[in-house]
Structure formats: C-alpha cells, structure tokens
C-alpha cells in the first residue's frame, strides 16, 4: 500500500484514504459541440501508457475530498510529486523520489 501526499491537507497518508481518478491534464473542451469527431475521440478515449513518470489524478476521498494531480513513476511505483488541481505540469527534470 502506497503513501500519498495530499497537497491540500499537507500530510502523507495511506493509499486507503484515496481513490484513483485517471490521467491528469485531460481538459474538457470549453465547447465540446465544436470539437471534431477525432478530437472528441481523443478526449474521451486516448490515454498515455507511460513507462516511467505518469501524470495522474487522485482524490482524497476519505479526507478533504479534493481531486489533485500527481506524478507517479510506473516503474518504481513511487510518487514523484503531488500538486493541486489546476496547476500546470511540473518540470519532470526537477523531481526526485523524495516526495514530502
């Protein structure tokens, strides 16, 4: 069971308090009806399958209830960082496996 740092609570807590919520930075278009079929397909269905750092979302369900973003290395299964929803992607070159 992993330990996850909630950026809202500023605490590192057991995975059992959290739920996974899919890939991060997949933004719903402001006007979906203006999207082409191909673009809409990409939004709905196409996701990364990263070997290494992966941008993903978690929710602190049994806690503050917030959705937030994380970078997790899918090889080591370690979190590199977590950050609040809405913030831009962090620079991967600055990340280490020592999340707070």
């Amino acid at each position: 069971m992993l330990l996850i740092h909630c950026p809202y609570c500023d605490e590192t807590l057991p995975e059992a308090e959290f739920t996974y919520a899919g890939q991060a930075h997949v933004v719903r278009p402001a006007d979906p009806s203006g999207e082409s079929d191909a673009d809409w397909e990409a939004f709905l269905f196409l996701r990364d399958n990263a070997k290494g750092p992966h941008f993903e979302r978690w929710r602190h369900l049994h806690g503050c209830g917030r959705f937030f973003n994380a970078v997790r290395d899918t090889v080591s299964d370690r979190f590199l960082t977590t950050y609040e929803a809405g913030l831009p992607r962090p620079d991967l070159s600055t990340l280490t496996e020592d999340q707070p």
Partner: protein, 187 residues
C-alpha cells in the same frame, strides 16, 4: 447479523478495563461550505472558523472542524441549529455558501480509555498519533468514511453515517473485548 440501526440508542455500547465505547445523544450537525471571506461566518456562528484542515475551534456550545479547503463540520446543540441556519441565511446574498442541516445523517461514538487509540487502530490505517489532541480529521475506519475528533490523549469521538453504525458497532465491540483480553494476558 448485527443489530438494526434503530436498536442503537444513546448510551454505553461496551465497557472493558481498557476502553469504553458509547453512543452520544443526538446533536445538531451542520455541513458548511464557503469560499473567500470567512469573517462574516465567524460572526454569524460565534467562533473563528479554523482555516487549516484538521484544526478545530469552539464557541458557545458549538464546535467547528475544518475538513477541507472550503468545508467545515459544525456540531451544536439541536436547539441552536435553527438559529445558526437563519444567521447564515442572511449572509447568503453577499457571501454565497451552502449550509446544510445533517443532524439526522450521523451518529457519534465516544471512545475513551487507555486503549482508545489502539481500538481506533483496528480500523484506521493512518498514524493516529499525528492527529493531536484538540484536532480532528476525516479518515477511514474499516472501509467506512468517518470523522475523528481527538479530544484528548485517550479520548476521541467518531462520527459515522448511521447506516454504517450496526457494522461499525460490531467491530468496536469485538475490538474492545480483544484489547481487554490482550491487557489481561499481559498482566
């Protein structure tokens, strides 16, 4: 099968040498959601809403625990609920918020005694020592969302939605007896 919800009446549930678990009498509970300027709510509620998740504040008979960036659980005597709702309603136009009466939603266990934290560790995966006396958190106990109010070194309250109470009562009772048996074996 465990007990029906209606059989869980206020009073002691289990008492052993090391821990006592009881169900509290009904109390008023309000779920407050608000953003931005909080000072008007401090006035309306008669306490300073804690700004940091896990922190608590108390006013005249009422208590507030910050659960999320824009969320507080407020406990108050049942008789005060109406007045608190009205006081905040007058703020709504200028300070939109959501204040919902959830007095009927939850029930509260009081866990008390030298084995209190051990009993909670039966169901809580998080390190309970990091919830200091006087703080509180929403967390998980045996798969169920709970709000834990740590009132003292060996005293805590556990708020749960009442439909889960028969299930949780069973584990709190089993765990309390188990802890007592552990203590007896250690003597």
């Amino acid at each position: 099968m465990n007990a029906p919800v209606s059989a869980l009446t206020p009073g002691p549930l289990v008492e052993t040498d090391v821990v006592r678990v009881s169900l509290e009498a009904p109390r008023g509970r309000l779920s407050l959601r608000a953003r931005g300027e909080l000072a008007p709510f401090d006035v309306a509620l008669g306490l300073t809403l804690p700004r940091k998740i896990g922190q608590r504040a108390a006013g005249d008979g009422i208590e507030a625990l910050c659960l999320g960036p824009d969320e507080w659980m407020i406990h108050a005597p049942e008789a005060q609920v109406g007045a608190l709702l009205s006081a905040c309603a007058t703020l709504y136009e200028r300070h939109p918020h959501s204040l919902v009466d959830v007095s009927g939603r939850e029930t509260t266990y009081v866990v008390d005694g030298p084995g209190a934290l051990d009993l909670l560790s039966v169901g809580c995966p998080r390190d309970l020592d990091r919830i200091l006396p006087g703080e509180g958190r929403r967390t998980v106990f045996d798969g169920v969302t709970v709000i834990l109010w740590r009132d003292g070194e060996t005293t805590a309250r556990l708020d749960v939605w009442h439909s889960f109470a028969p299930y949780l009562s069973e584990l709190l009772e089993t765990g309390s007896r188990e802890l007592a048996a552990d203590a007896a074996a250690a003597r």
